[in-house]
């Protein structure tokens, strides 16, 4: 009886975990070469076919990431140098910039069809995060809790900032709450652990 978004979030996290596990194996020089050759062959046969997407599905890898691998390889060949990360990212965001039309289509297809990675998904995640922050703010206002929001904190020069710091701490089920961070995702053990490492301890260290 969980909401769809919760399930999606869980799925997404599990998928990401799996991708993380296999990430390295797709990034060996041999793998990259294989993928690139398969892409070239596939496109040669039929440029309109979803070559990259199918390849990604076949090797069980996120399509966006597959697109990135091939794009990187492609640019490397073309420029005779490793392309910069920003360039790659920008091309993934807007495949129109990709100098090869076929590849652009393939890449776009990948990013659009990827459920967990890619600029589009990132943006959705970001949007969800933002929305939940707004919702949280609403709730705080509703409960008449005075808080300092992230932007205010930044303006004051805080180095690391949670979404909200409560100006007057509150107790929730016997725990004192000093700050709130909205994550808008399912809080399973490992993701909590990761966030703890990245953010929460930093907050705890300060507030």
């Amino acid at each position: 009886s969980q909401s769809q978004s919760t399930l999606l979030s869980i799925f997404s996290q599990e998928y990401q975990k799996q991708i993380k596990r296999t990430h390295a194996k797709h990034h060996t020089a041999e793998a990259i070469e294989t993928y690139y050759q398969r892409y070239l062959n596939g496109v040669m046969k039929n440029a309109a076919a979803p070559v990259l997407l199918e390849l990604a599905n076949e090797v069980d890898f996120a399509p966006s990431l597959m697109a990135r691998i091939v794009l990187e390889r492609f640019l490397q060949e073309k420029e005779q140098a490793l392309p910069s990360k920003t360039l790659i990212n920008s091309m993934l965001r807007d495949p129109s910039q990709i100098p090869d039309g076929v590849l652009a289509n393939q890449v776009y297809q990948c990013t659009v069809n990827d459920c967990c990675y890619g600029p589009l998904v990132d943006c959705i995640k970001h949007a969800i995060g933002h929305e939940h922050e707004v919702l949280l703010r609403e709730m705080l206002l509703e409960k008449n809790l005075s808080f300092i929001a992230e932007d205010q904190l930044r303006a004051k020069g805080y180095d690391k900032t949670p979404d909200f710091i409560l100006e007057v701490p509150v107790a929730v089920e016997g725990h004192i709450i000093h700050w709130i961070e909205s994550k808008a995702s399912f809080g399973d053990e490992s993701s909590h652990q990761a966030y703890l490492q990245d953010q929460f301890w930093s907050y705890w260290n300060r507030y």
Partner: protein, 1319 residues
């Protein structure tokens, strides 16, 4: 027997009495003449006490040995001996409590004392009493000592024993012979005795101040030291050479001192050693340890060496005495003593029962049934030598009462050991024992303490005298005392008193504090970017903060695990962090963080919670709460495990969380960090030490509350200070720390070297100040913590020697009683911590007995300042036990005696919530206009102190708020204006930015002057408001207005002072920051952004119930997925649904609440993609008839739903988006590629799109034109290229033609046809 009984000890006692009398005399006369005598007497006193203590320890050693229950109670003589031999002993046993052994020194001096004091002998020897003489016995003794015990150093026991026995004999005989010798005055009557004692000491201090200078102390201390550090053998061989001739200069030759009434000839010295060689019941000589004792180093030394230790004082007599035969001396002594005895009155003053001290207990005990249930029955009826024991108890108690013992609680611990002693078997038959004893030639050889009965009797007597201290101990302790069967059977009166004390006591103590480990909060004033020299430093510190806490957490989680090693696990991380700190010079920031975290975590009594319950102290106190069963169990285990009792003098340690910080410092090993940390600690200590903590006059109503608050605040400040001081001490002495005591040579050179350096923190000054200002209750405890970490050399440095001397003086003069100057518990705390300090391993043993407290003139002239604390009852048992957890040892001892019945001891644990230290508002500086100031002072003088506090507080706050307000208003406004000016100028000319900035700022400075005016206004407005609110309603109008005026004045002074000094810099800083920000954001705001601004808000009446952006993006993504493919056969997008989606998109875009820029941009991009796909016919739309009918628009557009959708999109782009929509993406290669791939190209859809773009002013014709031209450059299929060219021609011609037209619909309807026709 007769002759022998009159021996040294007896004389000692009389001498002691004599000293007492003299001191009274001295007080009475209070004149210069007396001083010399007093001096000598004080030296006598010095020698007597160690002798007495040693005597008691030795006497009881056997009984304590026999009782095996706790090793603490029963020092094993053999073990001691062996341990004592090596110099390393000390270091090795640092953990166990130490008792100082004063063996040889004592012995020697004793003789001197006796003689000099015998009033009759007095005539000749004024000289003998002049300073140096007193200790002369060492001079006398050498011959004896060397001859009798050449091998002393390595077989201390034997020689020792011999000497000892003689000593003992003397005391013992005294006891047998002169039970009534003690005059009434000797009692614990506080008034006369204590007062006189203090007076004397003061006099001493004064009188000696002149004649003494640095030299003297140097000699005495280092002299003692030196001896100890050397191998005993060597020193034993050449004792005279060790004597410092300089002393003769310093201590005037014998004849020099004048005014000595009881003169004695130097020749009268008695050398006690040879008196009796036999010692039938000889016990291990050194065992006067009452505690598990790591032996005090003094014990190691042979008698000889200890003689040398006897410092300058003793040397003076060297030549004089040797010739005399001991026999002669004895005779003299005997006579003297007889006289004294006759003079002496009965000891009524001492014992609770004035009549006959022995009787009551005797009768009482007789009536009691034998307590068979005790481990060993202590039977009052079996007590032998009662009179002697009573005498001893009296004497001993007096020493304790007058602070003549180095550590009161150590003695109490010893007494309790006696009380709880268990071994008796050897001396079960008291009577026969007694007989034997009496038959022995030397009375001191008699074992007065051979039976448990005697020990207990003695202990109960002493406890009776010490009732006052006992009654102030914590409740659990009182309970154990009140329930102690031995006390009950030996002294029902004491039992009754203790019971009453217990019942009325409220002093429950718990050392269990809830540990709230919290991080240090980020404070923008000190922690934000502007406090760092560079961005890099700031960001690195950000990381360091996190690393630090990561380390801390790791430590917290793991340090208790076995095999976890701080250095191994964290060492390299810490050093890496230090390297980073050094690279960016962030030390001061980190030191501050470190220090704050330290205080936060370790303020509690046992250093924070991490290892709560780990220290044995803790567990025992936990017993108070029997609710916790597991703890109780553990506790009982502790009692079974002998090591748990560590004795009342544990060496300094870093319990709990403190350990982390100590190890951190050690692992870091960073000089820079240490230095910064020391700076930080010093500052913090000075601040806390100077806080005004107490208001002295309370108006009636608020008194209670205030006092409570004051106590709390005091506690917090005191504990923080102690913690900080401990760490400061640790850091300061860290470089000099050695595992072992350095040798004499090393010590001398080290002293010479280090005497040159200045102390990091001038504790001497602070100590003097605190005594003068009567704030020693705050200052001494932390100075003790600081000093407890001294290295072995430091106490010998001129500077620290002075500090120790002063502390010693304080200790000596602080007689326990309730008086106006200081409350009882305040004193008890000071005595407890000082007593502990004197037992700290690195504090030289000689310190207590050999140091002349004279060098450091005690400042009698205390100033009654408003900050005085000593007279305020600030210390309660909780604080006492928190500061001195080792006091819990007493209780442990008793509790272990009741072994097994621990569970009976119920109680509850009072949790103490640690409160954060609130810093008090610093006093506003009042410097101007003297008269005005005086008037103000006068005004406050007659008002309750809270008024002044309020006014100062208000002034401080208002002043500060004023500055903040000015910053937020005036400065912000100026900065805004500056921004405008800068923006224009930057556009105009690419001029030098710095110069530009300068110009603009200069312009603003003038206006900045307004700040002062505005500040004044602010203070004038806010000050009175605050004062009015804070002062009592009933304050009279005149007082109120004066208070307001003063507050306003002070606040204005503060605010304007700051503003006038800083406003220009502030403006410049802010403007610069803004300017930099401006330069970073490229380009001035676009005109389009204005429109954007307009859309920031939701339309009026918006309910914010539009779909979330994320959802819309998601849905559009789904559409794109289908459109881009791959898709299943028959997979379609419902046209109406899509239309509806676009409708919702519009809603979402209109409601701005959940929208963020990235979402919006993404939406814009996605919709453009969608449009391209629509135009390329890539979206498999399913056209449902129903919906088609509904949509009239669609019907109009040739039944192709795509037109409708495109129209919707165009309108959304135009109307609803706040960000620019990247419509030009339609012309991207990729999107045109889609179009090119379509077999049946719908050029009219494309054209429709182009027109739409123009009509909605999303693109200009020229822009489209250039896009189209751009496309024509690309390698398209020829056919497509042709069509494209055509399209562009059509578009341009039509558009140029239609340009002036205002109705777009017409155009759109027209154009498609033409295009299709052409394709």
């Amino acid at each position: 027997m007769g002759a022998e009984t009159f021996t040294l000890a007896g004389e000692l006692l009389t001498a002691f009495r004599c000293w007492e009398e003299l001191s009274c005399f001295g007080v009475r006369k209070h004149e210069n003449h007396v001083h010399d005598k007093l001096v000598s007497l004080s030296l006598l006193q010095k020698d007597f006490v160690p002798f007495l203590l040693n005597f008691l320890r030795e006497q009881t050693s056997q009984i304590l040995t026999n009782g095996p229950s706790t090793p603490a109670k029963t020092p094993n003589s053999k073990a001691h001996r062996s341990q004592r031999t090596g110099p390393e002993r000390r270091a090795g046993h640092a953990t166990s409590s130490r008792v100082q052994l004063f063996t040889q020194r004592t012995l020697v001096t004793t003789c001197t004392t006796d003689i000099s004091f015998s009033p009759a002998a007095a005539s000749s020897s004024s000289s003998s009493f002049s300073g140096s003489n007193l200790s002369s016995p060492c001079g006398d003794c050498p011959s004896v000592a060397s001859s009798s015990s050449p091998s002393f150093g390595y077989s201390p026991v034997l020689n020792h024993g011999e000497k000892r026995s003689s000593q003992k004999a003397s005391l013992g005989s005294f006891l047998t012979a002169t039970p009534e010798a003690l005059p009434a005055r000797r009692g614990r009557k506080k008034g006369s005795v204590s007062a006189s004692g203090r007076q004397v000491a003061r006099d001493l201090g004064r009188s000696l101040a002149d004649e003494e200078d640095g030299k003297h102390d140097g000699v005495s201390w280092s002299g003692g030291r030196r001896k100890r550090s050397e191998v005993p053998l060597v020193s034993a061989r050449s004792p005279p050479s060790q004597l410092n001739l300089n002393n003769l200069e310093e201590f005037p030759p014998m004849g020099a001192a004048s005014g000595w009434t009881n003169k004695s000839k130097p020749s009268r010295r008695i050398n006690p050693t040879p008196v009796s060689a036999e010692r039938p019941l000889s016990k291990p000589k050194m065992c006067f340890t009452s505690t598990p004792v790591s032996q005090s180093p003094a014990a190691r030394f042979s008698s000889r060496s200890s003689l040398e230790a006897f410092t300058a004082v003793q040397e003076g007599n060297l030549m004089s005495v040797k010739s005399n035969s001991l026999q002669e001396e004895r005779e003299m002594l005997k006579k003297e003593r007889c006289k004294l005895l006759h003079q002496a009155s009965s000891p009524s003053g001492i014992s609770p029962d004035p009549g006959t001290p022995t009787k009551p207990s005797y009768t009482r005990s007789a009536s009691l049934p034998a307590e068979s249930h005790l481990v060993t029955c202590a039977n009052p009826a079996k007590v032998s030598c009662k009179k002697q024991l009573e005498c001893l108890a009296q004497l001993y108690s007096s020493c304790i009462a007058e602070n003549l013992v180095p550590n009161i609680f150590l003695e109490l611990f010893f007494v309790l050991q006696l009380l709880t002693s268990k071994g008796t078997s050897t001396a079960e038959d008291g009577d026969s024992d007694l007989e034997i004893d009496e038959r022995s030639t030397d009375a001191s050889e008699r074992q007065h303490f051979r039976s448990v009965h005697n020990c207990v009797y003695f202990a109960v007597q002493v406890l009776g005298y010490q009732y006052e201290i006992l009654s102030r101990l914590e409740k659990g302790m009182l309970k154990l005392l009140a329930e102690n069967e031995r006390i009950a059977s030996f002294s029902p009166t004491l039992h009754e008193r203790l019971r009453q004390a217990y019942e009325s006591s409220t002093a429950k103590v718990s050392l269990l504090l809830p540990c709230s480990v919290q991080s240090v909060s980020f404070q923008p004033e000190t922690d934000n970017r502007s406090n760092f020299p560079s961005d890099r430093a700031f960001h690195i510190f950000k990381k360091q903060r996190d690393i630090f806490y990561e380390l801390l957490r790791e430590w917290e989680d793991n340090h208790e695990k076995t095999g976890w090693d701080f250095e191994r696990v964290l060492g390299s991380k810490i050093r890496a962090m230090m390297a980073h700190l050094s690279a960016t010079c962030n030390h001061s920031h980190f030191a501050r963080l470190f220090q704050k975290q330290l205080i936060q975590m370790c303020k509690g009594p046992i250093g924070g919670g991490a290892s709560l319950g780990d220290t044995p102290d803790q567990d025992v106190l936990n017993m108070l709460g029997s609710d916790n069963l597991s703890r109780l169990k553990r506790l009982q285990e502790r009692f079974v495990v002998p090591q748990s009792i560590r004795g009342p003098c544990p060496p300094p340690s870093f319990p709990g969380c403190q350990q982390f910080f100590r190890d951190f410092i050690l692992s870091a090993g960073s000089y820079q960090f240490n230095q910064h940390l020391m700076d930080s600690l010093c500052l913090q200590i000075l601040e806390l030490d100077g806080l005004t903590l107490v208001e002295h006059e309370h108006s009636d109503g608020e008194a209670d509350m205030d006092e409570q608050d004051e106590k709390k605040r005091f506690t917090v400040v005191l504990l923080s200070l102690r913690l900080l001081a401990k760490f400061l001490g640790f850091l300061v002495f860290l470089p000099y720390r050695t595992v072992e005591q350095p040798t004499r040579d090393l010590q001398d050179s080290a002293v010479a070297l280090r005497n040159q350096t200045l102390p990091v923190l001038d504790v001497l000054k602070l100590l003097r100040q605190s005594i003068r200002d009567q704030r020693s209750i705050l200052t001494i405890p932390w100075i003790v913590e600081y000093l407890s970490l001294v290295d072995y050399i430091a106490p010998f440095l001129d500077y620290y020697r002075k500090v120790f001397c002063l502390l010693l003086q304080v200790y000596r003069l602080m007689v326990l009683s309730e008086d106006k100057e200081m409350s009882f518990l305040n004193k008890l705390l000071i005595l407890a911590v000082l007593g502990w300090l004197f037992q700290v391993p690195s504090v030289p043993e000689e310190l207590f007995f050999t140091t002349d407290a004279r060098q450091e003139g005690f400042m009698v002239d205390t100033v009654t300042s408003a900050q005085a604390l000593d007279s305020v009852p600030l210390v309660d048992q909780q604080l006492l036990y928190t500061c001195c957890p080792y006091l819990g040892e007493l209780r442990k001892l008793l509790a272990s005696f009741v072994a097994g019945s621990g569970a009976k001891n119920g109680g509850f644990i009072r949790k103490i919530t640690p409160t954060a230290a609130e810093s008090l508002a610093p006093k506003a500086s009042v410097t101007q206009r003297k008269l005005q100031v005086e008037l103000e002072q006068a005004f406050f003088h007659n008002q309750p102190p809270s008024l002044r506090r309020t006014v100062e507080f208000v002034a401080e706050r208002v002043g500060s708020n004023c500055v903040k307000h000015i910053k937020a208003t005036l400065v912000a406004e100026l900065v805004q204006r500056a921004e405008g000016m800068l923006q224009e100028k930057v556009k105009e000319e690419d001029a030098n930015h710095d110069k530009l900035l300068e110009e603009v700022c200069a312009h603003l400075y003038e206006e900045g002057a307004q700040a002062l005016i505005k500040g004044r206004e602010f203070c004038k407005k806010k000050g009175p408001e605050a004062v009015r609110v804070l002062l009592p309603e009933e304050t009279s109008a005149a007082v109120l207005s004066s208070a307001e005026d003063i507050a306003v004045e002070l606040a204005t002074e503060k605010a304007c002072g700051w503003l006038s000094a800083n406003i220009a810099a502030l403006i410049k800083r802010e403007v610069k920051a803004t300017f930099n920000r401006m330069l970073k954001v490229p380009g001035p705001p676009l005109p389009g952004e204005d429109a954007l601004e307009l859309r920031r808000d939701c339309p009026p009446g918006c309910q914010h119930c539009a779909p979330f952006p994320s959802q819309i993006i998601n849905e559009i993504k789904d559409v794109l997925c289908v459109a881009v493919g791959p898709r299943d056969k028959g997979e379609v997008v419902d046209c109406v649904w899509l239309e509806c989606l676009l409708g919702r998109l519009s809603q979402t875009l209109q409601c701005r609440k959940f929208m963020c820029p990235t979402s919006e941009q993404q939406l814009a991009k996605c919709t453009v993609e969608l449009a391209s796909l629509l135009v390329s016919d890539r979206v498999p739309l399913s056209l449902r008839v129903k919906s088609a009918e509904k949509s009239s628009e669609m019907l109009r557009v040739k039944y192709n739903p795509t037109y409708g959708l495109l129209k919707l999109l165009l309108s959304v782009w135009k109307e609803d988006f706040g960000t620019p929509v990247p419509v030009q993406l339609i012309f991207s290669t990729k999107n045109m590629g889609y179009f090119a791939e379509v077999k049946q190209r719908e050029w009219d859809l494309f054209l429709f799109m182009l027109h739409g773009l123009v009509e909605h002013k999303l693109m200009r014709t020229s822009e489209i034109e250039s896009c189209l031209h751009g496309l024509e450059e690309l390698p398209w299929p020829l056919e497509f290229l042709k069509e494209l060219e055509m399209l562009s021609r059509v578009f341009l011609s039509e558009h140029q033609r239609e340009e002036p037209r205002t109705n777009p619909c017409e155009l759109t309807r027209q154009s498609p046809g033409t295009v299709t026709a052409q394709s």
